[in-house]
Symmetry: C2
Subunit: 248 residues, 2 copies
């Protein structure tokens, strides 16, 4: 039932690909480390489809072997702006952004995402999972911290046939966990990743253009500025697209 | 964003309800322990809808406060008979059934189910989750063992805002984990649970009647026989329904 590689030199990894800047960079790192990529994109009922389209673009650009889209509708649970139950905050101060867990927090999101990646990994007979979590910019998310990741690795070994039989020692790779947004962008740019393919905005317009003002846009824009890399993002205005975003 | 009970004496629990005999019993135990029940049924792409209808019936009978249905389509991952990718085995010997992990195994299923229950629990501000796992009859499933459950409890405390802030000490209740099927049935019967509402068969006919021959039916039938409780299940025949099932 489980596929196991007959060529031991072939290393396969499941990469969680959201369409955002971080997960695209984590996937590019996995590719650079020699893994064959099995991308997994989870549609958990996001407000817009642009993230999923971006994930597809990034997957194609990275030459993934397979791209699996799983629908897992967390909207029935509720409790998050990303899932459309309250407004996306705009123009928040740095202090406010870092103060507490943002209202865009999805309950237990990374636990759900890693569980689905684990299911795919077990089906594939692979033990390597890449996730683009980051503990620097989003310090408020409990499920982005190294101790959470370590606990999930431990769980994965006990949860699966492959783990229990000792055939696979599951490893959750978090290549971005200790990097700043600027360092992430420099890493991806050095690997040739085209960030124009990615989407970060929590509140895009009908064309998918970024608002430039939500927490995610602000962190992304500052990241490009700090990295000294030109920001390829197309931003919206009320009167239409413009070349430069609103002031940071 | 998170609802927290203002009346501390009200204890709420998320109960995973599949529509099967075990999860119905676990939910009945939760109710008997004084919890207000928030039922969570996950449609992960099962072959038939009878399980979900059974979960609804059981939820209504137990007077749940809320019944959440989440669609999380694991079919894209594949690798299991329950998800329609290979045939359901019939008339297997006891030896064969207990020999190895059955082909109806869904990769990482309980990890996914508990993750979704954790998301619901965090949204609700509740720390108690009930799951009807059992380590006796299905010894082949790695994610039914006490060490897996303990690892998930540890993960839950690290994964959530409520856990990290120490507001909630997550507990995964597994009231059936050490019981035989006969003991489970006696427990549920003593609590007044009507097992006619539940559905166990992996391969029902178009009317939802049980085949009586798949592993799940065989274990259930023997459970009623061993418990000395009349089996209320309606079984199918090729010529139509009949009162008595095929020989065990």
């Amino acid at each position: 039932m489980l596929k196991t590689d007959t060529h031991p030199e072939i290393r396969r990894a499941v990469v969680l690909l959201s369409g955002g800047l971080d997960s695209a960079t984590a996937a590019a790192v996995a590719k650079a480390e020699g893994f064959r990529l099995h991308a997994l994109t989870v549609d958990y009922g996001q407000r817009h489809r642009f993230e999923i389209e971006a994930a597809r673009r990034v997957g194609r650009a990275l030459g993934v072997e397979e791209h699996v889209l799983i629908s897992c509708d967390l909207r029935s649970i509720g409790g998050s702006a990303l899932l459309g139950t309250c407004d996306v905050p705009k123009d928040r101060s740095d202090e406010r952004m870092s103060q507490d867990i943002p209202p865009t927090y999805v309950p237990a999101r990374n636990t759900v995402l890693l569980s689905l990646a684990l299911a795919k990994a077990e089906q594939l007979g692979a033990g390597d999972i890449f996730i683009g979590v980051n503990a620097v910019d989003y310090s408020g998310y409990p499920d982005c911290r190294p101790e959470f990741i370590a606990a999930f690795e431990q769980l994965a070994r006990l949860a699966t046939k492959l783990g229990v039989e000792g055939k696979v020692g599951f490893r959750i790779h978090t290549p971005l966990i200790a990097l700043t947004k600027a360092e992430i962008i420099r890493r991806g740019a050095a690997l040739g990743l085209d960030y124009r393919l990615t989407h970060s905005c929590y509140d895009p317009d009908a064309m998918g253009r970024a608002c430039g003002r939500c927490d995610s846009c602000r962190i992304r824009r500052r990241g490009f500025a700090d990295a000294g890399v030109a920001d390829p993002t197309e931003y919206q205005t009320e009167a239409g697209p413009r070349a430069s975003p609103p002031a940071l």
